[in-house]
């Protein structure tokens, strides 16, 4: 596919490199010129061109509130299932984040040690943190670090300052919140066969 036919912005490769690995491009991200990439996609002219270009390779640019990501056209159900499984772990993480005294939201800056300290001081939070599966870190601090690391990899957080280990919550975090908000929980209706725990809208 010749890029030139689409009159694409020169950052197309960078955009693709980020989004094709399932990551988000957020407007408040600063690492690797993420905010610039966001501006490039957000330019209406560029957006249409990029959309057309990526559609050819069966990717669709999805627009969130101040972030972009790829969705795949005609994605097989098995992939969707995998994604949902991957998402499940975030339910507990977001629950933990939302239960903090200093709630973590878009643009918040924090250090894992702060969260670990708060969890250590608050039994409820500690339990929540300990409950989060997948991680085997021994200390709370390391566990939070792993969470942050995971979220950074998934481009929901950004390690802003390596020295102070300061993270920033990116706009893509909205994506997680939106999904959580769209989860409807049905209570069990006795012995009915159609009982389901979680329904993803």
């Amino acid at each position: 596919m010749e890029e030139y036919n689409f009159n694409l912005p020169k950052q197309t490769h960078d955009i693709f490199a980020v989004m094709a690995r399932g990551a988000f491009i957020s407007s408040n991200g600063t690492r690797d010129g993420m905010n610039r990439l966001y501006d490039v996609i957000n330019n209406p002219e560029n957006f249409d061109r990029l959309q057309a270009y990526f559609n050819v390779i069966r990717y669709n640019i999805e627009r969130g509130n101040n972030f972009f990501y790829f969705s795949k056209l005609h994605e097989p159900n098995s992939e969707i299932e995998k994604k949902l499984e991957r998402f499940e772990r975030y339910i507990d993480i977001i629950d933990l984040f939302a239960s903090m005294d200093n709630k973590i939201g878009i643009g918040s800056r924090f250090r894992p040690s702060e969260i670990a300290e708060e969890c250590n001081a608050n039994v409820r939070l500690k339990q929540k943190l300990q409950k989060i599966p997948l991680y085997r870190s021994e200390t709370l601090h390391n566990k939070v670090r792993e969470i942050c690391d995971l979220m950074s990899r998934d481009s929901f957080l950004e390690l802003e300052d390596e020295k102070t280990e300061s993270y920033k919550v990116l706009d893509s975090y909205t994506y997680l919140l939106d999904i959580i908000n769209s989860v409807a929980i049905y209570e069990e209706s006795g012995s009915g066969d159609d009982t389901q725990g979680l329904i993803y809208n």
């Binding site: 924090f110 920033k168 919550v169």
Partner: protein, 1227 residues
């Protein structure tokens, strides 16, 4: 000794590991010694003579510095002896804290430095020695710079000016640099980079490079600022700012309201706590007061009622008396008492008449007394019989009458008794009922009075009045605030306008200045171009011809020639041999005429002057812009602060007005509410009252009904009794009358019989009288008269009793009746007065009682409310976080009564807190989101920690508001716009400065190329040619820097406001700015990618060599590493170095100063062949350059040097340097 200036010898005294060495250097010199024996150290010491730069000797950072390694002792000396055309002089280098120099006007002699024990003496002693010997020794030269100035002949001090090795020009620094560079250059391959470095380093100082770190920092700073502003100006950010502003207001308002409420809660609580006892006491007092009031009222009532009773009794008495009197009077009237009284008055007269009649009768009948007597006795007898009979009958009638009367009386008594009993019963029955009715009636009256009182009572008057007052005050304040707001709004507009005008003024002044400066620069550039044109053509023009061929032409032709002619290339001047100095055959005395032509230096000077003017202009432009910005900032500071304060005030006013409006509405509602409550209270009270009234009315009705029933019942009974009585009486009366009538009939018949008998007797008597002659008529008449009088008297007698009674009654009663009526009226009046008084007392009592009850109820309610409030507070509020939040305020509040209950306040606080938390959460989210859009260290300082306190969040909002009010973004934009100008300008200046040296490079390269051409390789044919050429640089960073410089020249200084898409940015400005930003961005990326520290002169160009050695031609290449054997390479390298050195020395020394030689120090030349070495030494010698080389061991090569020194390490680790005895086969 040759008649040239040259470093003749170097002497080391206690230098490094060398105790003493005296090395001659007046010819090619070679040092032979294995590694680490000190060859290089010695070479460095020689280099130091030329460079006098202890840091530029190639000593690595891990090694000891030159000063410490070489000058270990206070008697460590480096001595350089320089031979001159006359006598030699020498330089002493020693350490006096730092390295210092002294020039000595004498040839070196070891005696100067050693004592008799061969020990090196201290510098003081050395100096003293010179003084003693009368040898000139200079003052201490403290700086390397001054030393170099002296050595290279630019020192102005006459005492020192003779101590030079050569006469350098302004570029003399190239000589030590070149010598140093040769020494320090790479030992293996020859890279054009090295040559470039060599040339560049020789031409530039350490500072004449573009430090990319600095540029990168500037770019980063600009880029960061730019990105911050860009982020700030984004729509999302602006939206967030609005949200933050709004939410902050809401949060602030809510917080304020909460605090106010907390204060009220605290006040209410304190008040409740402090007032509890007081209220209980007050309630008790009211209770007592009520009791007292009731007692007093009862007492008063009793007294009045007693009085009323007495009066009533009096009234009853008088009423009865009057009624009885009237009744009697009526009865008397019915009995025609008046006639009876009249007749009774005639009684006396009638009695007298009767007595007269009787005496008359007796006188008439005195003749017929017998007959009279007989008949009189018969008649009398008859009459007596008749009377007896009548009496009998009357007695019987009387008996019957009495009997029946008795019966009737009995009946009447019976009736009366029964009647009385019944009436008594009725009375008894009615007494309680009446008492009850009266009580109810009183109650009814009281209720009516109460209703009246209620209707007249203004409930919640205090509250309503207080609120009305508050409303009035609020309205007054509102009015004041509104006018203040109007004034401040006007002020804001005025200030805004003033600010805008000032900004506009500053902007136009800046653009005018820019325009003016640019025009001026364009003008000067044109002048520079004209000068450059002249300089460019001068070689081929008349000027060049004169320079080459006519000595001192400036003082001859230069005085008369037209400047234009000088630079014409078409004049083809030719020199006429043997011609005398004339002007077209004329001799002119030109001594007094000014020279009009200018030297190249003057042109150069003019050009430089103009360049300096441009720099000055740009500098002044920068200053102007800085001043302009400063003014802008001052204005922004002044107006921004004022506007900020005003806007803040306006906000506060608006907020106050908003609050006031709300309060007003609330107050109006509250007043309405109070009124409603008051009317409800009235209605409620009235409802209770009415209900009571209705109840009492009903009860009264029932009682009345009951009373009526009883009355009816009794009346029926009474009626029946009366009817029975009447019937019985009538029956008795009937029977009485019947019996009496029967007796009367009987009596009448009998009386008739008697009267008939009497008449017959009378007739008989009359007949007898007649018979006896007595006037019977007269007697009859008198008799009739007597009878008549007797009848009349009898009649009178009949009424005598009643008249007597009447008269008695009249005297005793009837005559007093008016008095009685008057008295009764008086009592009635008194009774009415008493009733009124009683009623009034009752009313007053009721009012007071109600009032007291109300007060008591209010106190009780207050008490209940206090207790409920305190309970509620303790149970439901004290443990909540809300209490903790406002604990300070609540606990510090003054006890004060508020319009709100503790419970309401607690509930409201809890409710509001939840609302506040919601709003605050949103506020926090907006702040986080906004701050998160910026870099961690953004220059606006929009940063908030995740665990920031509420205060910090609020300060963030306040600062943001101040930022907006003071329009700091405009300042930041202006600063950034200036910064981009400064950055591009700084880059352009640096690039220009650096590029300015490119001409020098071109010149040097030309000279080198020429020198290569001149090289006498023909003899050996070892090297056919060495060619060198200059090409444009392919350094990406430099290319970008160059583009920025071109951009800068094309567009002038980038002072524009088009950096951001603001209103006043024109399309052209925007385009220019976009390009500038893009270029700077590209440069930054390139710097990052290239990881180069600086752009030096050598990065501005590329050099290519083409060398042909024998059959080998390298072609145009950067790198010369495989021309031939290693020896060839070293040779070529050395040739190039020597060429370079030669060129630089030539360029950097005074034209006349040719009688000097310098050294070229190249360390390892061991691999060069003897043939090549000879060739090389000769090549150097032809260029007045002496070689100093190092060899690892003796190999025969040393035979080609004038001096050869060997190095040996002794047992004490000292190094000994000694001359090797060789035969000089020098070229």
């Amino acid at each position: 000794m040759e008649n040239v200036r040259i470093l003749n010898r170097i002497v080391e005294i206690n230098i490094a590991n060398v105790k003493y060495a005296d090395i001659e250097l007046s010819g090619n010199t070679c040092f032979v010694g294995t590694n680490n024996f000190g060859k290089t150290s010695l070479q460095r010491a020689i280099l130091f003579f030329y460079s006098a730069n202890s840091r530029g000797l190639g000593i690595s950072a891990s090694q000891k510095p030159f000063e410490e390694h070489y000058f270990r002792y206070e008697n460590s000396y480096l001595i350089y002896e320089i031979s001159t055309e006359e006598k030699p002089f020498f330089v002493i280098v020693y350490r006096h804290n730092k390295l210092v120099f002294r020039f000595v006007d004498a040839a070196y002699n070891p005696d100067y430095f050693f004592n008799e024990n061969d020990e090196a003496i201290k510098i003081k002693e050395v100096i003293a020695g010179f003084d003693k010997r009368g040898i000139f020794i200079s003052n201490q030269i403290d700086t390397f710079e001054r030393y170099r100035n002296i050595l290279y002949g630019t020192e102005t001090d006459k005492q020192l000016s003779k101590f030079h090795i050569l006469k350098g020009n302004e570029k003399y620094q190239n000589i030590p640099k070149s010598i140093t560079n040769v020494f320090l250059s790479s030992k293996s391959s020859i890279d054009s980079r090295f040559i470039k470095d060599f040339i560049a380093n020789s031409l530039t100082t350490e500072n004449s490079s573009i430090k990319l770190e600095q540029v990168e920092r500037q770019l980063r700073q600009f880029n960061e600022k730019y990105s911050d502003i860009e982020t700030y100006l984004k729509k999302d950010s602006q939206q967030l700012i609005e949200f933050i502003d709004k939410k902050y207001d809401q949060v602030h308002m809510l917080k304020g309201a909460q605090m106010e409420m907390a204060d009220k809660l605290g006040s209410s609580l304190r008040y409740a706590e402090t007032q509890n006892e007081a209220v209980i006491k007050a309630a008790k007092e009211k209770e007592e007061e009520l009791e007292k009031l009731a007692d007093a009222h009862e007492e008063q009532k009793t007294v009045l009622e007693e009085k009323q009773k007495d009066v009533r009794e009096e009234i009853g008495y008088y009423d009865r008396t009057i009624r009885d009197a009237n009744k009697k009077l009526k009865e008397y009237k019915e009995k025609n008492i008046e006639q009876a009284v009249e007749k009774n008055a005639e009684r006396e007269k009638l009695q007298v008449d009767l007595n007269i009649a009787r005496r008359e009768y007796e006188s008439l009948t005195s003749n017929v007394q017998n007959i009279e007597m007989k008949y009189s006795s018969l008649i009398e007898q008859l009459r007596n019989d008749k009377t007896a009979y009548i009496n009998k009958i009357n007695s019987r009638t009387g008996e019957i009458f009495n009997h029946y009367n008795e019966l009737q009386l009995l009946q009447k008594n019976e009736f009366s008794k029964k009647d009385t009993e019944l009436k008594q019963k009725r009375e008894d029955a009615l007494v309680n009922l009446n008492a009850e009715v009266t009580a109810k009636q009183i109650e009814f009256n009281e209720l009516k009075a109460e209703e009246k009182v209620i209707r007249n009572t203004r409930f919640y008057e205090t509250e309503i009045k207080a609120q009305e007052t508050e409303l009035a005050e609020l309205r007054a304040i509102n009015y004041k605030n509104k006018s203040e707001r109007a004034i401040k709004t006007n002020l804001v507009q005025t200030n805004q306008k003033e600010w805008e005008n000032l900004e506009q003024k500053l902007k136009s002044s800046l653009s005018n200045q820019i325009q003016k400066t640019n025009n001026e620069i364009i003008r000067i550039k044109a002048e520079i171009k004209a000068i450059e044109d002249k300089l460019n053509v001068q070689h081929d023009a008349f000027y060049g011809y004169l320079e080459k061929n006519v000595k001192d032409w400036h003082t001859t032709i230069g005085k008369v020639v037209n400047e234009e002619l000088l630079f014409r290339t078409d004049l083809n001047p030719t020199k006429v041999e043997g011609a005398v100095a004339s002007f077209y055959g004329l001799n002119l005395k030109l001594d007094e005429v000014n020279v009009v032509s200018k030297t190249i230096e003057e042109y150069q000077f003019e050009k430089n002057e103009r360049l300096a003017m441009i720099r000055d202009l740009e500098e002044s432009m920068n200053q102007f812009q800085a001043a302009n910005n400063e003014e802008k900032m001052v204005a922004a500071d002044k107006f921004g602060k004022q506007l900020g304060e005003l806007k803040e005030d306006l906000k506060v006013l608006n907020y106050s007005l908003e609050l006031a409006d709300k309060r007003e509405k609330k107050l109006i509602l509250e007043i309405e509410d109070w009124k409603q409550r008051a009317s409800s209270e009235i209605e409620e009270s009235l409802t209770g009252n009415k209900q009571k009234i209705n109840l009492v009315e009903e009860e009264l009705a029932i009682l009345n009904k009951k009373k009526n029933n009883i009355l009816n019942d009794f009346n029926t009974q009474l009626d029946k009794l009366k009817a029975f009585n009447d019937e019985r009486l009538a029956d008795l009366k009937g029977r009485q009358e019947t019996e009496i009538n029967e007796l009367e009939v009987e009596k009448k018949n009998q009386v008739k019989e008697y009267e008939e008998k009497e008449a017959s007797l009378s007739n008989e008597k009359e007949s007898n009288f007649k018979e006896k002659g007595v006037d019977s008529k007269e007697i009859k008449k008198i008799d009739a008269r007597i009878k008549e009088l007797q009848e009349a008297l009898k009649e009178i007698e009949q009424y005598s009793q009643i008249v007597s009674d009447y008269l008695k009654d009249k005297r005793e009663i009837f005559d007093k009746l008016p008095d009685l009526i008057q008295k009764k009226d008086e009592y009635v009046k008194t009774a009415n007065d008493l009733s009124a008084e009683l009623e009034e007392i009752g009313r007053k009592y009721n009012v007071r009682r109600m009032e007291l009850n109300k007060q008591k109820r209010a106190l009780e309610e207050e008490l209940i409310e206090f207790n409920n409030g305190i309970n509620y507070f303790t149970k439901n509020f004290r443990e909540t976080p809300v209490f903790n939040k406002y604990a300070d305020i609540i606990e510090r509040a003054e006890p004060k009564k508020t319009n709100y209950s503790v419970m309401d306040l607690c509930t409201q606080l809890l409710k509001n807190d939840s609302h506040f938390n919601e709003e605050y959460g949103a506020f926090q989210r907006y702040v986080n989101e906004f701050a998160g859009k910026f870099r961690l260290d953004n220059h606006f300082n929009f940063i908030i920690r995740n665990d920031a306190t509420q205060g910090e969040y609020e300060r963030f909002a306040q600062n943001l508001r101040a930022f907006i009010n003071e329009n700091k973004i405009e300042l930041s934009i202006a600063e950034t716009a200036t910064q981009i100008g400064l950055v591009t300008d700084s880059i352009a200046t640096k690039v220009k400065e650096l590029s300015g040296q490119k001409d020098k490079i071109q010149h040097i390269i030309t000279l080198i190329a020429e020198d290569f051409k001149k090289a006498e390789f023909e003899e050996s044919k070892l090297i056919e040619f060495i060619k060198i050429r200059l090409e444009d640089s392919d350094n990406k960073v430099y290319k970008l820097l160059k583009r920025i410089q071109e951009f800068r020249e094309e567009n002038g200084l980038v002072y524009n406001e088009g950096l951001f898409n603001t209103d006043f940015a024109t399309h052209k400005n925007r385009e220019i700015s976009t390009r500038a930003v893009k270029l700077l961005d590209q440069l930054r990326t390139a710097i990052k990618e290239q990881e180069q520290e600086e752009i030096r002169l050598q990065d501005l160009f590329e050099l290519r060599f083409n060398i042909k050695e024998g059959m080998n031609e390298t072609g145009w290449t950067h790198k010369i590493d495989s021309i031939g054997s290693t020896g060839t390479d070293i040779l070529v390298k050395a040739i190039i170095y020597i060429t370079l050195l030669h060129v630089f020395i030539k360029e950097s020394s005074h034209r006349g100063s040719t009688e000097f030689k310098v050294h070229c120090i190249i360390d390892e030349v061991g691999q060069i062949s003897a043939h090549y070495l000879r060739e090389l030494l000769r090549f150097a010698k032809n260029r007045n350059i002496m070689m100093i080389n190092g060899l690892p061991n003796k190999s025969g090569l040393e035979a080609h040097y004038k001096f050869t020194y060997q190095f040996r390490r002794e047992e004490n680790n000292n190094v000994r340097i000694f001359p090797s005895i060789v035969t000089e086969v020098e070229a």
